[in-house]
Symmetry: C2
Subunit: 174 residues, 2 copies
């Protein structure tokens, strides 16, 4: 056994654990993005985005599987979207979506005013061109989660001023 | 604002958040491993391992930076190792290292009897050949953390029966 350094240590470990929850996913995501761009041939932005989106899709599928293990069946699409905005978002990004809008015809817009994965970058419009690469995986997460709940969708993200960000979900009727 | 579904919802959100902390890093890590192997030319195991180790190294550096922000200066190498075994390990893997040994000449062995990133695989010796790819990034995490605390090291992992695993740290005197 690792020798104990007393009860006062416990508080510190809990604090560091809380810190880790906040940053572990973030750091791993940042390194993943940087790795995929670094290894891309001819810096093909589209390929990188689509790879990240696909990774996100698979993770989203797995996550929703776990998260909904004990939840009752959803009433309708709106009910699913509310679950995404509250439970799913809080679980991943430690905050809820700030605003959910819909045209009631299969289009939903989720607005997050301080999106976690953009917070490390400068606020405002300065580095906005770099935002898309940090939003591809999150788009995939949403699309994968929805797919596993039986909803085919197209998910895109839009940034107007960092770290605020809008995710648009267009449900594909089959 | 997303409409509230009452106080009873809070418990569910906290539960799902706890679940996410447990699996988010794990899922992202699994996808990263699978991506790196999938895209490797000629399935070069060594290259994949070294890429994962390097990603881990960078993440380890960043993590330790945050974790030690408010901790007092470490007394010696052993003190640093204890920090790794307790705080660092708990933060990332939600449990402490089970056993720490040293020869007092710069070699440390950290034993984890149920290593988190191996728990999804079958116990025993059956799939042991697949273990190394899930241990490369964790080795890098340790090496990166130590590097940022001024210790150059070589970190390797060894599995004798899953999900138990030993990390050997050899400090490089400069």
């Amino acid at each position: 056994m690792v020798p104990s350094r007393g009860q006062s240590e416990r508080g510190k470990i809990i604090l560091i654990s809380k810190m880790a929850e906040e940053v572990l996913f973030e750091f791993l995501h940042m390194e993943l993005v940087s790795y995929i761009y670094r290894t891309a041939k001819n810096n093909e932005e589209d390929t990188c985005i689509s790879k990240l989106e696909h990774l996100g899709y698979r993770i989203g599928q797995s996550l929703i599987e776990r998260f909904t293990k004990d939840t009752p069946r959803f009433k309708d699409d709106l009910d699913i979207m509310k679950f995404l905005c509250k439970d799913f978002w809080t679980a991943i990004y430690k905050k809820q979506v700030d605003n959910l809008r819909t045209n009631h015809q299969g289009v939903y817009v989720l607005q997050d005013n301080r999106f976690k994965l953009l917070q490390q970058m400068a606020s405002g419009k300065q580095y906005m061109e770099f935002a898309p690469k940090y939003l591809a995986l999150p788009c995939g997460l949403v699309r994968g989660a929805l797919a596993n709940l039986g909803i085919n969708s197209i998910v895109t993200a839009e940034v107007t001023s960092m770290p605020a960000c809008k995710f648009q979900i267009i449900i594909q009727k089959t």
